[in-house]
Point group: C2
Chain length 229, copies 2
């Protein structure tokens, strides 16, 4: 499909750099902080419930995650959780907001090989401040002609992106780890999508596999991208 | 300057709709919630210190404000603040994230009169999710050809915006209430700026008046914009 393709758009979190493992680690630390009030399963279920409930007002990202951990600690302890535990929860968030950015294997080689032959775009969702921090720290900014921080990666979000880039969906390939956010909505509007699973996915992002579609590619590593386009 | 001007860019918070008064109200409510630990001045000083300290990682917006209120309550109470008070602080934030959007007088008439003669752009900073919510609720989206949510409204932020809009600064007018964020950086890069003070300004946004500049206009109301361009 090379001769027709103009724009390759990359998801960032867990496609270009690691992100979800930091949430998993902090969920485990959070469980230890409040384990006098419930077992790990109940803690994580309550946290997920609170995160999903507040997504419409908090949006994606670490600040909403911290607020949801605090809400969960209050809920499970009947407001008895101590101030020092709340402070430790906030500290988890501050640390997560300052972690180094760890690129996924093959990312830099692949972007470097594609640059010049395609217009490369980064499309991510989440917290503006934190995404900008990761973009800066990643050293990858130089490969991208456009960086988009989307509120929701759904069909209308991608349609707006295509309008802004002034490109038709059949010249657009999205590369990402999330079937829900990177693959299914792009296939739905007629674009191409390359799915590269990451080893861990947030519960709220999990969906059934999409129907087979000849505009979708399943890859084991970002390095395989060069052989399918 | 009408014949030369192409793009008029509007700040949103406290220029198109009210925003800062909600922070002021919640600061007062916060003082009442923790008044057993300090007087109002000390509470507000500590809150401001914590907000400014965490701006680089939290960014602008209500979620960072809530986290800073919690941090302030912990700090002033030596971690003795109760879980139910923390819960009330979080509730203040949730309410603020759901407030109706109240347009400032004259906004809709002015935008309606300008539309068609100029390209209108909205450039705001802050939390992505919350700004998108306010843009939707405001009913003003139809007037703007481009909406930009910036991380920082400084010289390099405006220069990137001009590059993206493919316009030179002498065809660019910025309209806003904040000397620090809307006026001074735009004048510095050679653009025009119309300052419309709002009756309340966040301490961290306060700066000295800029040097006189014939590319700056001081207005009492957005309605006056029509007579100066």
């Amino acid at each position: 499909m090379k001769k027709e393709l103009n724009i390759i758009t990359f998801d960032a979190d867990d496609t270009l750099w690691e992100n979800e493992p930091f949430f998993r680690e902090n969920e485990q630390r959070f469980c230890e902080l409040v384990n006098e009030y419930a077992d790990s399963k109940q803690i994580l279920d309550t946290l997920l419930k609170n995160e999903v409930k507040t997504l419409p007002i908090y949006g994606y990202g670490i600040k909403g995650f911290v607020l949801s951990m605090i809400e969960t600690a209050l809920e499970l302890s009947n407001n008895q959780v101590s101030g020092s535990t709340i402070k430790k929860i906030m500290q988890l968030g501050k640390e997560q907001l300052s972690y180094p950015v760890k690129l996924i294997d093959g990312v830099e080689d692949t972007l470097s090989a594609l640059q010049g032959n395609y217009i490369l775009v980064m499309a991510t969702k989440g917290d503006l401040t934190d995404q900008e921090r990761k973009i800066e720290k990643s050293g990858l900014k130089k490969y991208f002609s456009h960086i988009e921080i989307m509120r929701e990666k759904n069909e209308s979000g991608y349609q707006s992106l295509l309008n802004r880039l002034q490109i038709s969906p059949d010249k657009f390939l999205m590369v990402g780890n999330s079937l829900k956010s990177d693959i299914i909505p792009v296939l739905s509007i007629g674009g191409y999508a390359a799915h590269i699973p990451f080893y861990t996915t947030w519960e709220h992002e999990k969906v059934d596999d999409p129907q087979e579609c000849d505009r979708m590619f399943s890859l084991n590593s970002i390095r395989e991208l060069l052989s399918v386009i």
